[in-house]
């Protein structure tokens, strides 16, 4: 059983340091089940097997939770800021080419490529989390996925505002805003809306 558990944990798509935690924890759980069964005169092997339950269900649950231990808020902030700056510069310097659909696709591709691993699963876990009561309002705790979402959404606008100010000082006051500038914002809000509704309506597993 221990070998099976080790093979199972090794095959999980979770960070390596979390595999050690999961293996130690599940190993302790099985050992406890075995000891209790022996003490109570039951079959230890059957008790161990019963305690483990469905490995596939365990895999799904662990692989949806564990990757979040790898991604810190600072890590997400850095990735979000980098993606935001790249989008801002590309759309600003790309000329007519980046004004329409191509610019929108490029911006979304950058955001997806630089997203923290399993950001959607992280976001779902964060949106399912118990609300935090603040002094003024209550809301979801801000985890790495929400940090990435809001950073990647707001950074391009910060860069563009800075560029407008700098250019205004040199006499350029015309501001031209292509619709592709809003692609990331619209996509992020759409994902937040859909996942927020799902987190409240879809029964928890």
């Amino acid at each position: 059983m221990r070998d099976e558990l080790e093979r199972f944990v090794a095959s999980l798509a979770i960070p390596e340091d979390r595999k050690a935690v999961v293996l130690a924890e599940l190993g302790d759980h099985l050992a406890c089940a075995r000891e209790t069964a022996a003490r109570e005169g039951r079959d230890p092997d059957a008790a161990e097997r019963d305690a483990l339950g469905s490995l596939e269900a365990l895999r799904r649950s662990l692989e949806s939770v564990e990757p979040a231990f790898r991604v810190s808020r600072w890590h997400a902030l850095g990735r979000g800021a980098l993606a935001g700056v790249l989008v801002a510069v590309a759309l600003d310097q790309g000329g007519a080419l980046m004004r329409g659909a191509l610019g929108a696709v490029f911006a979304l591709a950058v955001v997806l490529l630089l997203a923290p691993p399993r950001v959607l699963e992280l976001l779902r876990a964060e949106l399912r989390a118990s609300p935090v009561r603040g002094t003024l309002v209550s809301g979801s705790p801000i985890g790495p996925a929400l940090v990435y979402a809001f950073t990647v959404m707001s950074t391009p606008f910060c860069v563009w505002i800075a560029l407008i100010v700098v250019r205004a000082q040199s006499g350029v006051t015309a501001v031209d805003v292509p619709w592709s500038a809003f692609a990331v914002m619209m996509a992020v809000y759409a994902v937040l809306f859909v996942e927020g509704v799902r987190a409240r309506l879809v029964p928890a597993r």
């Binding site: 649950s61 876990a125 935090v132």
Partner: protein
């Protein structure tokens, strides 16, 4: 009493875990056993739901885990409620008791 249930809604399991940890620090197996004893055989807590729920609560800062050793020397993680977790436990308890009251009045006794 009917046969034991293998599936507990995630929100309910989180509330149950928080309620048990509010009584004292426990490792995963002891926590599962405590819940099963409390349910008098009507509930079966499996690893597949317990540890992911504990790890989610850890990510949210509601519980914290410390490493200890079992009597035979193997490593063991013991969970305890944080101060934020104590508040979450109170809220979850009130919420699920309200839901239970509502269901009781809607579905009858």
């Amino acid at each position: 009493m009917g046969r034991s249930r293998d599936v507990v809604p995630r929100g309910a399991l989180r509330a149950l875990v928080l309620a048990i940890l509010a009584e004292g620090d426990l490792h995963g197996y002891a926590l599962a056993r405590r819940l099963e004893e409390r349910a008098r055989g009507t509930l079966k807590i499996r690893e597949g739901s317990l540890y992911p729920a504990l790890h989610e609560l850890e990510l949210e800062g509601a519980v914290e885990a410390t490493w200890t050793r079992a009597p035979d020397g193997r490593r063991r993680r013991v969970y305890s409620l944080t101060s934020a977790g104590k508040r979450t436990a109170k809220g979850a308890r009130a919420e699920w008791l309200a839901i239970a009251d509502l269901l009781q009045s809607l579905l009858g006794t």
